[in-house]
Symmetry: C2
Subunit: 467 residues, 2 copies
């Protein structure tokens, strides 16, 4: 009995059409990374669990896919000692006993591990990009997968705002090439820390961050309510509130914020950290202005981004003309490699969301026409002699970079035309005995109906006709 | 205490230099696949174990990496019922209880699963290529890894020798582009089956195949000895022996073999299967002759290839000027999709060995010079004002496709030169206050020492100097 084929839930097959779109996305992003001197690396899908555990919080640890040790994984394990009664076991401890490896959960931790492990072979600042799948045992749902690609660029070993500038420029260029209008939102974690300080609750920076991160989803009033629930006083909330709705250009926003951080808020508290963050933002936007960008970049003081390891600039990119979450994001971190024994390495990175970018390009019909059509000419198979006659012609066309197919079987012409139709092949050649005897090759443009004959050595003529 | 970073044994990190070489290999192969109308697909790293088990023999089943079920994998498992005494367990049965998924072992079985699962969305003959990692819990040793890329092209749904021809042409073109001289060895499983028939041991085709597959490694005498050990009589061996050392062009070999298969061997047995295989080889080599290829292709009657699912043509490619095993191989199979419920789909495919091709290109120094050098110009950082002055120039160069870096920090020039040196950047610009006041950009070719100044808007002049 044959097995009904299926794949694990939360995973996907990508057929030719989707792959063409995805390759277009990755190739475009790579080509931009390269013009900024970013170099590719790849790390193994499997990491030692010690590398992964504890890096993503307790929830993250549960979402790691673990690999059963190979060979006899179970013999010698004292299962009884893991029993917790009622047929239940301490799965956490037991899985560590029988699994040493896990699938990577993101590209950031493997990158940190890579930098530390290979530090003596690398030139710093080290600029790398990495495009590989990651795996998470999340509950599958619409738009959330258990296997998906991340597409990251990071530079590590430099504190200069030049690096932030480059990432903004890369984002700008990538989405301009895609023809997607975006808003590049920028903030700085030090400004958020400063906000916590001047509100009088310097220890509540995480609470404040978590609350204001939701402003787009739940609105200002709900964010204020959440800050109160998280223990902020009314006066603290009133210090923070106006910041979240601040309008104007970057210079104006920075100027107002500088006033507050210098002690001119209701609390009168001065924040050195906040001022440092504003200096960084000021420097970055000065550089952006000097470089000139095609898209819009703005300071968004309500931008927080969830990840706790960010310590400086944070970025988030939204498509202006398509309703979807953030399609790119990132930020600066100061101690990513510390856990692996290399302290004081500041870095900054961004990550492009390939699945969402695919949806935006598709939704806005922005994929270039060439994407998805592979074969340019189908040579109908009229019999062995005709095929042998055509082979050198087809070879020359292929070596000129034109994708050609000779139909493999000398089937009825209808079947061959159907094949061209289903593969959206724009040109067909029906070269039969007549053409062979005249030394010709026949070509037809399937969309215009235009037809022409060429001498079999007139490769240039054929190239011109099909280009 | 910091963790000492490491990766699982048998896996690898690829740094920028290796990645450049690997991308060159994959990009070259992809570009050739495309000119033949092959389209990319990707399948998930994890497959249901039911898809993988039993497809690679008992040994293969043991080499599958299994993924522990997520959530609480152990509770409710009656471990006692799997105990076999002495603290040992039936690992095979127990692992099926706690693991539903495994990492793919090759790309062929997932491809078969894909074709069956998506048969209604595909146009047949379906030509796909697939370049993804696979995982095997093999004992790691030199040149054998637990994670490695496979790079496969297959066409399914056509019995025509045109498909075999295309694969030979693809191999020919790929290695010609690489500048590697190769010998493309071709045989046909039906001829091997015929050989078993005329030797009088039609049931021993696997034994004969396994033995003669080793001829390159152990030599003719040892192969004969092995055939005897595997139960062949002296007269059977004497029917097979001359075939293994047959010399001459394809037409000559086919002619001699046709005689034997028609009953003119010592046994006098006629093999219809063998004759069918010879017809296929004859047709294929006739097509190769008509198409013209740049490399050498020959019939090698001792070529067997281990995999049992091949039923027609088989291929193997060897580098002529570098000692290493086969760098590419493949063949025709008649019933790959049958196990998943789609019978009678004949297909043929090849697989390129990326790791070995990398070693050959490196060993023969055939990587193009550009491979591995990313950045073309390093703009030294002489301070914020100079950087701001340069930013529009650098932007224009990048948009023209030139990879540029501005050093992120205004460090000592020696440090900046060292960075250019370690990254093998061929041009440097030291544009200071003097050049800024004159509206110029300074450029130096680091290998020739040649130096020139350009107006800051003279992007064409700069492009010419660095190209």
């Amino acid at each position: 009995m044959a097995q009904k084929p299926s794949i694990p839930k939360g995973t996907r097959d990508f057929g030719p059409a989707e792959m063409s779109g995805r390759n277009y996305i990755f190739d475009t992003i790579k080509s931009v990374f390269k013009t900024y001197g970013y170099m590719p690396i790849e790390t193994p899908a499997m990491e030692n669990l010690g590398t992964l555990l504890g890096k993503y919080g307790d929830e993250g640890d549960k979402l790691l896919f673990r690999i059963l040790n190979s060979g006899d994984a179970f013999s010698g394990v004292d299962f009884g000692s893991y029993a917790t009664g009622d047929g239940k076991y301490n799965s956490k401890a037991l899985s560590l006993k029988v699994c040493e490896k896990g699938l990577r959960y993101d590209l950031t931790v493997p990158f940190a591990r890579f930098v530390v492990q290979h530090q003596n072979e690398l030139s710093f600042p080290f600029k790398r990009y990495q495009i590989q799948p990651v795996w998470r045992a999340d509950r599958p749902q619409k738009g959330r997968y258990r296997e998906f690609y991340q597409c990251d660029a990071d530079v590590i070993g430099s504190r200069s705002q030049m690096n932030e500038l480059e990432l903004v420029q890369i984002v700008d260029r990538v989405f301009t090439l895609f023809g997607i209008n975006v808003l590049i939102k920028v903030n700085n974690r030090k400004v958020l820390a400063g906000l916590a300080e001047i509100s009088g609750f310097p220890d509540k920076v995480v609470d404040i961050t978590v609350a204001i991160d939701k402003i787009d989803k739940i609105g200002l009033e709900a964010v204020k309510a959440e800050m109160r629930e998280r223990g902020l006083t009314e006066s603290a909330v009133s210090v923070i509130e106006p910041v979240l709705t601040l309008k104007g250009g970057y210079a104006e926003k920075i100027s107002v914020m500088r006033g507050l951080m210098e002690g001119r808020s209701a609390s009168g508290i001065v924040s050195e950290t906040g001022l440092k963050g504003l200096d960084e933002l000021d420097e970055l936007f000065g550089l952006i202005e000097a470089a000139g960008i095609s898209q819009e970049a703005e300071i968004d003081l309500s931008l927080a981004r969830g990840l706790n390891y960010y310590t400086g600039a944070i970025f988030e990119v939204k498509a202006k003309d398509f309703e979807i979450g953030s399609i790119c994001g990132g930020g600066r971190y100061d101690n990513l490699t510390g856990i692996f024994g290399l302290p004081d390495m500041s870095g900054v990175g961004i990550s492009f969301g390939a699945d969402r970018i695919y949806d935006v390009l598709k939704g806005l019909d922005k994929f270039p026409k060439e994407v998805g059509t592979a074969t340019r000419i189908l040579f109908a198979n009229m019999g062995t002699e005709e095929v042998k006659y055509l082979l050198p012609v087809v070879r020359a066309l292929r070596e000129s970079g034109i994708s050609c197919e000779i139909f493999a079987e000398s089937s009825k012409l209808k079947k061959q035309f159907d094949y061209a139709d289903r593969k959206a092949i724009p040109f067909i050649s029906i070269t039969g005995g007549d053409e062979v005897s005249k030394g010709q090759v026949n070509l037809k443009n399937l969309s215009t109906g235009e037809q022409e004959s060429f001498g079999k050595d007139d490769i240039d003529g054929i190239l011109k006709f099909v280009s």
